[in-house]
């Protein structure tokens, strides 16, 4: 089974982006670059909700679609056609789609962006790992990394380490719902 990792940078109060999607508080460092350089080769698929796609595309990121064979899926209930030739639109049930994807051959799968899309995958219990780069800031408002999935989700700490800039990198394995 392929591993599904949800993660990204967040503030100590749990926002992955501030008001109006602001990410000017993000601290890039050689430590982050090294982590990404190690993590990136372990995945070949990126999943994101439509809102994250919008932000990513506006920033010129485009979900790394098409680069280095990274397959990118954008999930939406409202879009009728793919917003870019580099990404594939999924309009069917996200949990069922991801369950199917996990059974297919391939590398790891990365879920980007927080909010509603991540919540739906937590609700469906298809996320295997949570990785956060906790930044030393309280944003007060923004896009939450975690929304209420309707039940407690137990985690198991895999790793925790301090990196440059007072950021704390934590990785958890998700304990399966019983």
């Amino acid at each position: 089974m392929r591993k599904v990792t949800y993660g990204g940078a967040c503030s100590l109060d749990g926002f992955i982006a501030g008001k109006e999607g602001s990410i000017d508080w993000l601290h890039f460092s050689p430590d982050v670059q090294k982590f990404m350089a190690e993590f990136w080769p372990t995945i070949d698929t990126i999943l994101m909700g439509r809102k994250t796609w919008d932000v990513s595309a506006a920033m010129g990121g485009g979900g790394a679609g098409g680069s280095g064979g990274m397959k990118t899926y954008v999930f939406s209930r409202t879009l009728k056609k793919s917003p870019s030739p580099d990404v594939e639109l999924v309009t069917t049930d996200a949990v069922a789609f991801v369950k199917d994807l996990k059974r297919q051959k391939g590398k790891g799968i990365c879920v980007m962006g927080g909010g509603d899309f991540a919540r739906s995958l937590f609700e469906g219990d298809v996320i295997d790992e949570v990785g956060l780069n906790i930044h030393p800031i309280l944003l007060g408002s923004g896009i939450p990394a975690f929304l209420d999935a309707g039940r407690r989700i137990a985690l198991e700490l895999e790793e925790s380490r301090t990196i440059h800039g007072g950021c704390v990198l934590v990785t958890y394995r998700v304990r399966r719902a019983k």
Copy 2:
């Protein structure tokens, strides 16, 4: 100036208590005991909002009032008299009160409980240190450790370490608002 520390145990999604104040998810360990044994002697004053007092009193805690010379203040805009002989009721402006307290002689001051009371002290910029024991669980809902203080609050990581049970202990210094 006396140092004001805000902190406690929280879930990875930032709740200091679950629905209806539940704390059955808290993990006590020799590591936590050791930390508390080191921290406790550095403070002589506890501040808490009325809601936290209610929970604390219901659990028989009573804010450690009267024990070992620990002075406990309960802040409320609705109470007319102190809820216990062990604690002192404060009905005046919390920020002004804490500012005055910080100028007095004494040991460190600890703010207990999250939500509105902690927010008001962050708004007033009187908190100097944040200490969290991040537990490996997503609660989904409950009493948030941080509410929107209306501005970003920059922190400086002082320490981060993994302790028993997959908990991550982090301590931050609050950078003063400019």
